[in-house]
Symmetry: none
Subunit: 221 residues, 4 copies
Amino acid sequence: MSAVDRLLAGEGQRPRADARRNLERLVAAARAAVAEVGVEVTAHEIAQRAGVGIGTFYRRVSSRESLLESVLDEVLGEAVAAADQALGAADPWQGFHGFATAFVRLRAESCGVGEALGGACGPALDRALSEVRERIRLLVERAQAAGLMRPDVAWQDVAFLLAAVATGPSTIGLRAGDLQWSRNLQVVLDGLRTTAPSPLPGAPPSQMTAIPTGGERPRTA
Amino acid sequence: MSAVDRLLAGEGQRPRADARRNLERLVAAARAAVAEVGVEVTAHEIAQRAGVGIGTFYRRVSSRESLLESVLDEVLGEAVAAADQALGAADPWQGFHGFATAFVRLRAESCGVGEALGGACGPALDRALSEVRERIRLLVERAQAAGLMRPDVAWQDVAFLLAAVATGPSTIGLRAGDLQWSRNLQVVLDGLRTTAPSPLPGAPPSQMTAIPTGGERPRTA
Amino acid sequence: MSAVDRLLAGEGQRPRADARRNLERLVAAARAAVAEVGVEVTAHEIAQRAGVGIGTFYRRVSSRESLLESVLDEVLGEAVAAADQALGAADPWQGFHGFATAFVRLRAESCGVGEALGGACGPALDRALSEVRERIRLLVERAQAAGLMRPDVAWQDVAFLLAAVATGPSTIGLRAGDLQWSRNLQVVLDGLRTTAPSPLPGAPPSQMTAIPTGGERPRTA
Amino acid sequence: MSAVDRLLAGEGQRPRADARRNLERLVAAARAAVAEVGVEVTAHEIAQRAGVGIGTFYRRVSSRESLLESVLDEVLGEAVAAADQALGAADPWQGFHGFATAFVRLRAESCGVGEALGGACGPALDRALSEVRERIRLLVERAQAAGLMRPDVAWQDVAFLLAAVATGPSTIGLRAGDLQWSRNLQVVLDGLRTTAPSPLPGAPPSQMTAIPTGGERPRTA
DNA sequence: TATGAATGAGTTTTCATTCAT
DNA sequence: TATGAATGAAAACTCATTCAT
């Protein structure tokens, strides 16, 4: 269920066109704002990005927290969809790989929403969370059973690793490029695999994705 | 240079003994507070933990942000020290491994300070940051030159990976155990290595660190 | 003039039937809402109770305050009617008694509207107010002239007493029962009379109205 | 216990002189503001009247509601003191009379605080409220036992009457004079008494207290 | 015309920072 | 100097009122 539908669920009848449009704008603005400035975005900022007044914000959304919750719910729903597709893949590792990519991308977008809401996000998200967990467990077990993933990692470890890989727009003065997460992910996938490392995306002989800040790029031997 | 020295630099004369003691307390309190409650700790909380009044806080520190900056500076200094020791190690991979462990632990402690300060942390930290960057570059190049680290990663990727691994006390409703970062790190190190994966710490035959939440642990084959 | 007529006065032409019906609903809803939840009822609540949209509310009523004013006007009109009937009574005291009862009941219903509007209710109500004042003066004078009401009270005092008696759903943790005002009124009437006190309503030998909260009822000798 | 002491109770040690002074100002300002503009006074208004910033308001008082609660507690404490003195009076009616006067005066000042806080004022006031109730019961029973108060009123009725008498700064366009409550009270006391009415305060041959607004005063025969 | 969506000023409260004691 | 009291900008949220549908 999309965040918009979720937020509309409480309403009695079907919303007017402008109301729905504003809600969509708010959800999109919230998602973008969270991705850019983090979960501490103010209600005003979100409203402004959405091009609506603060009054409209609260009319459509009931509270800042509930909006963030809905955004997170939406993201989790997308993760579940990706996992279901992955479970249908013939090759367990290919499936896991595809899911991991989708999951990390999603997480990079909605960066930190879950943590920010903490345990306080109420039972509203319990279903979505447990669905994601269940899928990850299945994907990990399937890959391990096929001998394609090292057997000494718990699915929880995998969850943490995938979450971690998406993290952090910057470190030690470096600013992450748009595809940093994909390079991080490649290393982690190689660490999880039973066999030898695959070449990083864009690794020699082709060019790697540029890193904007922070001086010289290495000569990737 | 320690955080304390750094903060004393602005002062005209040599500080009185009690002034210095209070400053030391503030830095230590800030570091602990950040590790425990996160970067959003209030100035009052830090002052209280340090056992000084808020007035003293600002007399010694000029602003909350600058104190956090100093904490980060101190952490970076420790990272540099760890790196220098690692560069002295006979085995390049052993050296890198030791540094990575120290770096991740430090980062887990000072969790998020860097990001919280954003790019706005001013030129004050430039030296420390570039020192860390330089060391990481050297460590990576040394390991790669020895054929012990895959050659298709940039040192920046390594920096991001190490930063990422330390992250996040929770994800998808799971709560990280104290040693989650070490399990994460092991996978990443294996992904970076040229050779086959090593067993995770605590992997069979010994027991792994328990994860408090989230149901059954896997049968680590 | 009814509240509805009053509010229609500003309009140019004669109102359409549905417009008038909506206005009547609004006034009735406002009156009920004020009686139930108090003068701080929101415009939305009144509109909802009236079964109209907030847009219609403002089309018909110009402002929340002016609607409350109209409610008060209506109540005052009813008070005037009660007074006129009372002035026609053969016995001056019976007349006053009847008016007092009606007035207090009205005031209990519209409790606090007058005060809430403060002195700011404009000249719109001047006529109604002075009509009520005039009637009370006449009733008091008539009763005093007949030697049935103590001569040392001013009609203003009587007005205040009657207003006061209707007041307050609670005090010192007690919650008023539905007929509290009638018991209060009885004491006040006895205080105003020239002769000895009459038994309270429900006083011995019959039962008094129960008071829900606050422990034991007295043994009404 | 005064409102100031009550609010200081939470604090660890004894407050600095300026802190105490500001707290006293806030309590006094709150009490005055409530008496003048009613319980819906804003925190800003109280702070402004007290001559302090809004920050100081919250530092001293923890919440607007808790300040009002303390004011009410103070008022109730004064009522209890008046009642205890009244219970010591030789003549039961004189005692009741004195208490009633004090109680009504207090209530006129703190007009409506109790109701505004509603049942939500927490158990903090339970003690004070039940103490007042108990005293009123005793005073009423004593007067009734001595045959000086009509036996068919419950002490709860008396409580409501005294509360009512203090009420309402205005009605039907009249503005209450400062001593309106005392004239109201006189009538009520006469209604409660077993014997004939006493002259109103200021009744002939002396002059009655002037009523500022609302036209001609009656010729008090 | 009736509707209800949109608006923004105003309310309570927090917290980084300044200043009197 | 050390203290903590005072400050006010800013955040979340409400509600009377306006305006597009």
